[in-house]
């Protein structure tokens, strides 16, 4: 049997649906941010369920999902947030590979749990690799599907899918209160003990002004003393930048490559998916860990 190639048409795009892979690396030194999926755990799971190659591109949907009509048969997997997906009106499986046929309609709704859902196709989404990645960089209008979020009428095509045995995982259940472990620094010396005291003991709330670039946290600004301006340096995924106002912002996939504000700490990579799935209003606490103990 020849490998199947899945095709579908976007009937409704959802609030923000972009093609992403792990990110575009090797160009940050030219000022091009990596973009990539926000929730690497859900991303890996979606590709694992289908036996896709590591690095296959998926669709990331934020807050509300897409409505897709399939033009040919293939395999799909849904991970991450629960957007009440339905296949031809019946509930579609989460965290389990399933088949679709030409004419099937897969519809995602408003998010019920979590924030970002991932839809993978057997073989992975076929968009051109730009600078080594299929990720959409919205800021640079680069990569992914024509450098932009999906709109109605777009047609997505998958790479050839050799098929695979059915795989299943337990779906995630995202909590309204999360704890993020972080390593203090790299500008630890710009924050005194009082600032860390506040940071470690505040129940922050995810602000509605959060996006793929960063997660803003409300609930108490940090004492910043002489300010937080630094000579600009590189920013890692999950670094917590503190502006002069004292508000912490966790910098995420669409972060700028460099920035001029001090970072009080950096969230552990294993905990970042929790933040990627945190709806505005989610309570966030930070717990320091020593780099030596990781």
């Amino acid at each position: 049997m020849s490998a199947a190639i899945l095709r579908c048409r976007v009937v409704q795009p959802g609030a923000l649906s972009t093609v992403q892979d792990l990110g575009r690396f090797g160009y940050q030194r030219f000022g091009i941010g990596p973009a990539g999926v926000m929730d690497r755990t859900a991303y890996r799971e979606a590709n694992w369920l289908l036996g896709n190659p590591t690095g296959a591109a998926v669709l990331e949907m934020t807050l509300s999902g897409a409505k897709l009509e399939f033009l040919s048969a293939g395999r799909c997997a849904i991970t991450g947030a629960d957007m009440a997906a339905s296949l031809n009106g019946a509930p579609a499986p989460r965290s389990r590979a399933f088949d679709v046929a030409a004419g099937d309609v897969l519809q995602f709704g408003l998010v019920r749990n979590g924030l970002r859902a991932y839809l993978a196709f057997g073989g992975g989404i076929d968009v051109p690799e730009v600078m080594g990645s299929r990720s959409t960089n919205l800021r640079c209008r680069l990569g992914g599907f024509m450098g932009r979020a999906l709109t109605a009428g777009d047609e997505l095509v998958a790479l050839p899918d050799a098929g695979g045995e059915p795989r299943e995982l337990p779906p995630h259940i995202y909590q309204p209160e999360i704890e993020l472990r972080y390593v203090p620094g790299p500008q630890q010396d710009m924050f005194d003990a009082a600032a860390y005291q506040v940071f470690d003991n505040t129940a922050y709330v995810v602000s509605p002004q959060s996006d793929r670039m960063g997660c803003r946290l409300d609930g108490g600004n940090l004492p910043t003393g002489a300010g937080t301006d630094i000579v600009s340096d590189g920013i890692a995924f999950g670094s917590v930048q503190v502006a002069n106002s004292g508000q912490p912002i966790v910098l995420l996939a669409d972060r700028q490559t460099t920035g001029g504000y001090a970072k009080i700490g950096t969230v552990l990579s294993l905990d970042l998916p929790l933040l990627a799935q945190a709806l505005p209003g989610t309570k966030v606490r930070f717990r320091p860990v020593r780099a030596e103990d990781i």
């Binding site: 010396d189 600009s232 340096d233």
Partner: protein
């Protein structure tokens, strides 16, 4: 405090950034010699190309080295970077690359020139002479694709940013903000005072090298007329334009 590995490079500190990155800090000064160390280490890390390397982000006085999560322990990566640091040559004898950036400093291309004349107490011709009359070193790229942080703006041209930033500045605009000068590679909001515009594309994702210069290179702004601007714009649109290096014999 952080267990930063010290080595022969006494000024360098290796700081953990979460569990998947290390920041090699060379102090907090904007200084040419410091920046040269950053670049030398960046080159060394890229040349060593360890399997765990995800990316590097060189800045004024630091190098962020990002690891592929789960592929290596921080301690191991730190040892490898410390070894590269210890083996860095004291001086890099790289050839000096100077890129020619044609700029039209006139009329519609220089909307803030009149303000600059007033703020600096200089005639436009003198502003152009001072701005184009030297090579600027690229300390780092960041903020936007291909946005170069340049060192060496003449003090007489330092000028405060606009009180209210513009919502949209056209790609290629050349501006001055405080003690810095630079070129906007993309249409972007911004608060720098605009004294000219280049017709060449500093960032072109379709080009084999989307950004043709790198940190450590120099740029020189070459004044052109509006007519030359139009001709170059046509060349760029037709794909006939290629990035140009200033030749060794060229004088300022």
């Amino acid at each position: 405090m952080t267990g930063g590995a010290m080595n022969s490079d006494l000024a360098a500190q290796l700081l953990p950034v979460g569990d998947s990155a290390l920041l090699v800090g060379f102090g907090r000064l904007v200084d040419e010699a410091v920046n040269d160390r950053v670049r030398a280490l960046c080159d060394a890390v890229l040349a060593a190309a360890p399997a765990w390397l995800e990316d590097v982000v060189p800045a004024y006085a630091s190098l962020l080295v990002c690891l592929r999560p789960g592929s290596v322990s921080l301690a191991r990566a730190r040892e490898e970077i410390a070894a590269l640091l210890a083996a860095l040559p004291a001086q890099t004898a790289a050839e000096r690359r100077v890129w020619a950036i044609p700029v039209c400093y006139k009329g519609e291309f220089a909307p803030d020139m009149a303000d600059m004349e007033r703020l600096c107490g200089l005639a436009a011709a003198e502003i152009v002479r001072l701005h184009s009359g030297r090579d600027y070193k690229i300390y780092m790229l960041g903020f936007l694709p291909g946005f170069a942080y340049l060192g060496g703006l003449d003090e007489r041209l330092h000028a405060p940013r606009l009180e209210t930033p513009r919502v949209k500045i056209p790609a290629g605009s050349v501006g001055i903000g405080g003690a810095q000068t630079g070129v906007y590679p993309l249409d972007s909001p911004g608060g720098w005072r605009l004294i000219g515009q280049t017709p060449v594309s500093l960032y072109d994702p379709e080009r084999a090298e989307p950004i043709f210069y790198q940190a450590g290179d120099y740029v020189r702004f070459l004044p052109i007329t509006a007519g030359e601007f139009a001709a170059l714009t046509a060349d760029v649109a037709a794909g006939r334009w290629q990035p140009q290096l200033v030749k060794a014999g060229d004088t300022l």
